[in-house]
């Protein structure tokens, strides 16, 4: 079928946007739940090698394995690490289903490290409990997922960027409009339920190297889902709780906690001294990292030079072959050898990510956003610190629930006027003869983010940042693309731009400091539980503007005692001062 001006329309039951980690699992779960449903996985890249795990993964960062921890322990750990601002029900559902998911992946052929007795070889990295499970052979995970997609006859549509979610006249999500990244063709996918799995918003800030694509996150994850959610009217949450990670200086590989930590490596200052008790990534840990970086004992280093030769070889095997295999080349280029000296570290650019932090599109424990028929899973949704296993579990939850949601539903009526006007807006940069290249527009927005929105956050600076970003709105009608690829970048740049504004609006709204460095607000240096023990929801007003409101924290399902609440506030090693 085509609609006016030859825009092709495909009908499916369940549309999944993003075929990285959560997306394939959502597709398989939907098919397992309802084998007759037509399920499409739409991917901007190619599901064979897309997303954060394109080359594999070093391990599970948050496995809740019986005998090592209970779901209740895990809920406590994440509640504390996230300064109390969590939807505990959502974390609990993850924790309850975590072990079953590991077993499922294991049965599919994903290899997890086991000890001599055949038990999962768990490692302690978190402050309180034991949750890390190494996957030294983690490079085949995408292949395994792909096999499952084929077995369940999931339709895969590669090289399409979803750009706007469609809504029917009752306010339900009913598909999306997407742009072909090779031919600049605009298509409509009409569906009875939509699951967004578009990953983190990793291209908001600029890496210290200035290279636009040198981000921690896979740069195809540029915040499309966050922007789409905003425009369709879904609430986002915790955007002020940025993602900031400790990385190698100039190289976007994670440095320490999960791989080297259990083997004896640690984060040290210039004197080679340990200054944090626990390398598990949290806002408090990042605050200590930042202080050390800026203080007289900086910069900060990854220290491995005290380890035995075979341990270093083991570390090199994992770090240089799995997740980020170009890492060895980076070190070779600079003549760096873990045996000889410490490796310089730095902090990453800012981003939105629930996988590592708590920022994203609001979902509840069923994976539902605030728009009926629209689900979210993985790094783009709001279940905190969920990492890869959380993406799998919530992908599964969304797939199951969407399969139930569509029962008895008829295809929605499409809003033609909206679709044609969006088509024209999406293609506009290609119609111009000259103008502003997407790369320049993107660079400028991201440079403003670094100058004005990175922590430490200051009201006056954020005011200026927001003003300067708003001035860039006038540049959008001048964006210029010479081919389909540049058009993809032009549309991405507009989503990045939306995310930058959202970062400023949410950060200014929460007038306190929380989560260590993530929301270190200089004008309000204290945590204020009386006024701000709540979620901050960002939403679109009737006029189309960005606004925020408070959402109370749902009653806890796992209670904490007072001593536990402060566990993550005492991360600095006492001797280091």
């Amino acid at each position: 079928m085509t609609i006016s001006d030859d825009i092709p329309v495909q009908d499916i039951d369940i549309l999944i946007i993003g075929g990285g980690t959560a997306g394939p699992m959502a597709a398989v779960a939907a098919k397992e739940q309802n084998p007759d449903a037509s399920v499409m996985l739409l991917e901007k890249a190619n599901v064979k090698r897309s997303g954060a795990i394109s080359m594999g993964m070093d391990g599970l960062n948050n496995a809740v394995v019986p005998g090592h921890s209970t779901p209740e322990d895990y809920v406590k750990e994440i509640t504390i690490a996230n300064d109390g601002i969590v939807l505990q029900k959502g974390v609990k559902v993850y924790a309850d289903r975590s072990f079953e998911m590991i077993q499922k992946l294991d049965s599919w052929g994903v290899y997890f490290q086991k000890d001599e007795t055949g038990e999962y070889d768990m490692k302690k990295v978190h402050h309180l409990g034991t949750y890390v499970l190494p996957m030294p052979e983690g490079h085949n995970i995408k292949k395994i997922l792909y096999r499952r997609l084929r077995r369940h006859r999931v339709k895969v549509e590669n090289r399409y960027q979803a750009i706007r979610i469609l809504k029917d006249n009752e306010g339900n999500a009913c598909g999306c409009i997407a742009l072909g990244t090779r031919d600049a063709d605009v298509i409509v996918l009409r569906a009875k339920a939509v699951i967004m799995c578009t990953g983190a918003a990793g291209r908001i800030g600029l890496p210290a190297s200035g290279y636009l694509y040198g981000t921690y996150e896979n740069p195809s994850n540029c915040g499309d889902g966050h922007s789409m959610a905003f425009h369709v009217g879904a609430e986002l949450t915790g955007l002020e709780c940025y993602q900031i990670n400790p990385l190698l200086k100039d190289y976007n590989g994670p440095a320490c906690a999960y791989v080297t930590g259990p083997l004896g490596g640690y984060t040290a200052n210039a004197h080679g001294d340990r200054f944090i008790e626990c390398d598990y990534w949290s806002g408090q840990m990042m605050m200590e990292f930042y202080n050390e970086l800026q203080g007289g004992k900086g910069p900060v280093f990854l220290k491995l030079d005290h380890l035995a030769e075979e341990t270093i070889q083991e570390i090199e095997h994992v770090l240089h072959t799995n997740e980020r295999p170009s890492r060895g080349r980076f070190h070779d280029g600079r003549g760096v050898n873990y045996r000889q000296k410490m490796v310089e570290m730095h902090i990453s650019e800012i981003g939105f990510c629930a996988g590592h932090s708590a920022s994203g599109v609001w979902i509840n424990e069923k994976g539902e956003t605030t728009i009926p028929g629209l689900y979210g899973a993985g790094d783009m949704a709001s279940i905190p610190h969920s990492y890869m296993l959380g993406a799998f579990v919530y992908g599964q939850i969304c797939g199951e629930n969407a399969a139930q949601f569509i029962e008895g539903k008829e295809p929605a009526e499409l809003d033609m006027a909206f679709i044609t006007s969006e088509r024209d807006r999406i293609l506009a940069p290609l119609m111009r003869k000259d103008g502003i290249p997407p790369s320049q527009f993107e660079y400028k927005a991201r440079r403003l983010v670094n100058d004005y929105l990175q922590p430490p956050k200051v009201t006056k600076k954020m005011d200026i940042g927001l003003q300067r970003l708003k001035a860039m709105e006038e540049d959008i009608p001048h964006l210029y693309a010479r081919d389909a690829h540049e058009l993809l970048r032009a549309n991405e740049a507009q989503h990045i731009f939306d995310c930058a504004k959202m970062a400023a609006v949410a950060s200014q709204y929460r007038q306190e400091s929380r989560w260590g460095l993530y929301h270190n607000y200089v004008d309000y240096p204290e945590t204020n539980n009386d006024d701000w023990f709540c979620h901050v929801q960002l939403y679109k007003t009737d006029e189309g503007d960005m606004a925020c409101k408070k959402r109370p924290i749902d009653p806890y399902v796992v209670q904490l005692d007072d001593a536990e609440k402060n566990a993550y506030q005492q991360l600095r090693v006492q001797a280091a001062g």
Partner: protein, 77 residues
């Protein structure tokens, strides 16, 4: 608004002797998450068309003839 082109040293190198794109291979182009590898119209071989690389390496790992080398982008070296 006039524009100008700037050159950029790209991180990914394709060995044209080894590349078998003329036999229909498109593996590296297919797997690249950033869609920056294309066919060079003149040589018929794969090449890096846009300097937008995550140095993630599926292109190199999946090439059937070992024609692809991923280097670290100059700005990061």
């Amino acid at each position: 608004m006039p524009t100008a082109s700037q050159i950029s040293m790209v991180p990914v190198i394709v060995d044209e002797e080894k590349c078998i794109a003329e036999k229909g291979c498109r593996t590296c182009i297919d797997v690249c998450p950033l869609d920056v590898l294309w066919i060079n119209e003149e040589s018929g071989k794969a090449f890096m068309k846009y300097d937008e690389c995550w140095y993630c390496m599926p292109c190199e790992a999946d090439c059937p003839t070992d024609a692809v080398t991923v280097n670290i982008p100059y700005l990061l070296r």
